[in-house]
Symmetry: C2
Subunit: 284 residues, 2 copies
């Protein structure tokens, strides 16, 4: 692991670069399409008290006219895992120390015609090291032709990124995503899927890093295209009711099943950052 | 356990009588104070398919002008516990068979001045048998003088019921409630408390049954009084924002921690009935 400090630095820097790009692109859509001057409000947090001894992160939250709620978090946390988690994460069987850096984003647009999206990539270091992440799309009306077409565009762009990295990886990561974002009590998926990958270490760090960078870059470029294609589609009252329902199920998934939420709550994470993924409205 | 079939029948009948009384009282408040003709819509469900071989229940849901969402469920379910639950419930160490009957109610009023409430009582039979239940109040503004006074009225009525049953029981059941309805990630209670009891079997079934009946009767009489005292209190926009926040935390508690929700999801319960407790709106 002679290069590990270099890897950490490069990964951490990248997540911040990507965060800045995403925030700037989202703000620019707000400004150009609705003359909204809403910008991301950033807020730093630390895992312990007010110092940086075990890391922390920076939240960025925008509540706008196009994007009713968009949260983009970056964090770099480190220390020793709590007893509940030791051994459950690869490379911590003999040594509880960990280092994790990543970006996590959820966007809930105001218009039910624009799909909600989630993207997260991370680099984890224990006695092993690997990348993980994914991106998935949640149109409000999962069955409409327009939604299915937007999802196809999203999937095809991910397929290109995956297949460029490794032949056959797309099918594997797509299935992983469908299996993960599933609500057993509803017998339905959270949205229309995307990709999910974890424990990625091919032995060529630069290549794996490039893949993770491409997932992020591709995500924001494709989402901008999706917003452009759907922002002018008119919505009915029924679409807004359906949005409330879809958002409720999004909440059910995140609170009942999501690993990231559970990990955050168990590691004494920042509540505001953890719950940034939850929708701006829901109804049961 | 020679009288057990008689006990089951009496308990099950009582929960239905109480359900009918509560629904009728809630409908009458709707009619008299807002000229609303909303009534409870009832819906039967069965645990397995469409037959009654392992029991089921009846939901009753009203979406009204005073009570934005009021759900009153009764159910009687029986059979063998799933592997995950065997041994975790008293009297199932050697025998997985169980029988459970109960009533469960959650009311989310439209006005932020009227507190939300929850009440649940149940009779469980395994190789042992016992009562359980409780009632708790969730005013929107937990710190306002009006809320504190309404909560006092609620607590005092419960105290009377408990102390009539057994000296000292109120403090015990009150603490149990405060400990149970707690959100560790927020470091706050769900509402302003009430009582919570479980595994209640004093050796005198009739007495324990009377106590459980009194909890139910007292609940609805006291809540009617609370509604009368708060229904005319004017609300500001800030109160409605606070209501959304309180409801979001109610959702967090129910999805992250509530035993009843987890039990329901693990025993393949009816999703509509389980989630009837969730609020009609929430925002993050």
């Amino acid at each position: 692991m002679k290069n590990i400090e270099d890897f950490k630095k490069k990964a951490k820097n990248w997540f911040k670069i990507l965060r800045n790009k995403i925030c700037s692109d989202i703000e620019s859509i707000e400004r150009n399409s609705k003359s909204s001057n809403q910008i991301f409000k950033k807020k730093k947090w630390y895992r312990n008290n007010k110092d940086n001894k075990s890391g922390g992160g920076e939240m960025a939250l925008l509540r706008g006219e196009v994007f009713e709620k968009a949260g983009v978090n970056i964090s770099t946390v480190y220390g020793n895992l709590s007893k509940e988690l030791v051994g459950k994460i690869p490379g911590t069987e003999k040594n509880p120390s960990f280092w994790a850096s990543g970006i996590s984003l959820v966007i809930h647009p105001k218009s039910p015609s624009i799909p909600a999206v989630h993207m997260n990539t991370r680099f984890i270091v224990t006695e092993k090291f690997w990348f993980g992440g994914g991106a998935d799309i949640t149109p409000i009306n999962k069955k409409s032709k327009a939604s299915i077409n937007l999802a196809k565009l999203f999937h095809n762009s991910l397929k290109k990124v995956c297949e460029n990295y490794k032949k056959g990886s797309y099918q594997k990561y797509k299935k992983w995503c469908d299996d993960y974002f599933y609500l057993p009590h509803r017998k339905e998926t959270r949205g229309l899927g995307g990709i999910f990958y974890d424990n990625l270490n091919s032995g060529n760090w630069e290549r794996d890093f490039d893949f993770t960078k491409n997932v992020g870059d591709n995500f924001i470029e494709t989402y901008k295209e999706i917003v452009k294609l759907s922002i002018k589609t008119p919505c009915t009252q029924k679409d807004f009711s359906m949005q409330l329902e879809r958002r409720s199920r999004y909440t059910e998934f995140n609170l009942l099943y999501d690993r990231g939420t559970k990990f955050g709550l168990l590691t004494n994470g920042n509540i505001e950052a953890i719950f940034m993924s939850l929708p701006p409205s829901a109804s049961w």
